[in-house]
Amino acid sequence: MSGKDSKDNVADLRQDHARANESSPRRIPHAYLRKPLAIGAVAIVGASLLAGYPWLFGTPLMLQIAISVLIYVPLVVGQNIITGNSGQLSMGHAAFYAVGAYCTGILVTRLDGFPALAAVALAIVGAGLLGLLIGFPALRVSGDYLFILTIGLNLIVVSVATQWEAATGGARGLTRIPLFSVGGYEFRTPEDFYYVVLIAAVLCVGVAAAVLSSRFGRLLEAARDDRAAAEACGVSITGMRLSAFVIGSSMAGLSGAMFAYNLGFVGPQSFTLQQSLLIFEMVIIGGLASIRGSILGAIILVALPEALRFLQDYRLGLGGVIILILMVWRPNGLLGKGVVAPLVKS
């Protein structure tokens, strides 16, 4: 190629890029999203499926499975922001879940007529504050040490919930949580409550998508990929790691509030290390740093055990089996971008 050709070529490429920018100033990174018709169709079909679910699959079991999946979605999305996007190996997500559930439970059982939306908001803030608190020691340790530290956090939260009877009701838990209600309207039936958790999950996914596709999402992943290089670019590692923890734990707080309203009961046995492990498995199976992966992971690990009830107790090992197969066949999870291995190294 002669020098002149190559120069023209470069000029063309730059113009191409400029044109591409003009026509779509909000450049969306995923190629499949560039076809507006396809997105429109998928969005309409998806939205009507979700909205019509109670009519389409209205059996009580199917409805409860859907509610359960939707309660897990913010949990898994939050864990994935901490572990997938920010690269922090945290294994105590049930602790934040618990804080959200107990915040809601305590507020609405102790204070008569406490507005449900305010309880949900405070659950989100409470869990976020615990996330901030844990984010600080998480700055000093990383990789496998953080893993152990967050296990410790989970154990502490469960033991406080069990022992502090005056506030948490101890091992018997908090009962008689009133129905979720907004402005006097009570969401009595599972069909009604389905829409509450659907809106919560959609809001959470929307926030996560907006945050992660912005410049902030890029900085988060830069701090994860290479600490020294990110600092040399002026990126605050502290800021990124802390905000990942705060965002991820707040989402768990939202799930906690939904959990409390769904069961009408909050007890310590729902927030054990086993629960954290399940959330972690959902992230690994769905795929690190992928919102769609998080949703898929929640669906698989909630719905599949129900579908496989004929296997009886063996179905509890299902997550383990799926992970074993995936680690060989697809180590990044089904829809994952990140690699699992560097989590321990860094």
Binding site: S6, K7, N9, V10, L13, R14, H17, A18, N21, P25, R26, R27, A210, V211, S214, R215, F216, R218, L219, E221, A222, R224, D225, D226, A228, A229, A230, E231, A232, C233, G234, V235, S236, I237, G239, A289, K337, G338
Partner: protein
């Protein structure tokens, strides 16, 4: 979050030369091994200053001390009249000190364009919340940064432009180096620290890069510190060169005359 004051850059190319850097009495020891032994250098604004020396002479340690990656035992570092001594790596980047690494360090999960955009972090005026909310000022700024990144990557001709959306992991070694340099330029630096930019490149690629470096620096009128093993490149690019040996200054001056210095020849040939 962003330090205010004279360190802020404008997006328009600077007209006046900048990046006058002085390092005075830098001392670094790793255990009993002294890596920098009271070294002082002076980097004039707007030009490239070379640093050469045999392996283990303290060149990379010097870059690390200037960029804040290595905390020195003692050192006084002044950039354009402002002391950056107490700052860590992040704040020095914010003050306009950009660097590349001896072993290329990119954000491997990202594309070429995204890597370059991370380099521009200090330049953004709108905050992260504005970016999450897609506020208009944040969107125009993002578009402007993307255009700046494309313009800077264009300096390497068609090496990177057709690969803007490729993950950096798929690039050749030389292209990874080019991305790293582009990322450093995106910082709109006052001074650019280049740690062996041509390492691992073949002679043709090295020569091509040496041709492109002055153009890159001109964009923001910054100065540069060039650590390099290839003497012909240093001779081509630098008016002035510092020769290090065992963390001390061995010689200093015009690259061609420095080469004739018997002390320098002795250090490079390893005569005891």
């Amino acid at each position: 979050m962003i330090p205010s004051g004279p360190a802020r850059a404008t997006t328009a190319p600077a007209t006046a030369a900048r990046g006058h850097l002085t390092v005075d009495d830098a001392y670094v020891a790793f255990g009993g091994i002294v890596a920098l032994d009271g070294l002082s250098i002076d980097v004039p604004a707007g030009v490239i200053t070379g640093v050469i020396g045999p392996n283990g002479s303290g060149k990379t340690t010097l870059i690390d001390v200037i960029s804040g990656a290595q905390r020195p035992g003692r050192a006084s570092i002044v950039l354009d009249g402002i002391s950056v001594g107490p700052h860590g790596a992040r704040l020095r980047a914010r003050a306009g000190i950009a660097r590349t690494f001896q072993h290329v360090r990119l954000f491997d999960s990202m594309t070429v364009l995204e890597n370059a955009l991370i380099g521009g972090t200090r330049v953004y005026q709108s905050g992260l919340t504005a970016a999450m909310l897609r506020l208009p000022r944040s969107r125009t700024e993002e578009a402007r940064q993307r255009q700046a990144a494309v313009d800077i990557l264009a300096i390497f001709g068609d090496r990177l432009l057709p690969r803007l959306d490729h993950p950096v992991g798929t690039l050749s070694y030389a292209n990874r180096r080019r991305v790293e340099i582009a990322r450093a330029i995106m910082l709109e630096p006052r001074v650019l620290l280049l740690d062996e930019p041509t390492a691992g490149m073949n002679p043709h690629e090295s020569f091509e890069l040496a041709e492109q470096i002055p153009g890159l620096l001109q964009r923001y009128g910054c100065s540069a510190v060039l650590v390099e093993h290839k003497v012909d490149i240093v001779v081509q690019l630098c008016k002035e060169v510092y020769v290090l040996d065992h963390g001390q200054l061995l010689a200093h001056g015009n690259p061609t005359t420095v080469q004739q210095d018997p002390k320098v020849q002795e250090a490079f040939l390893g005569v005891d």
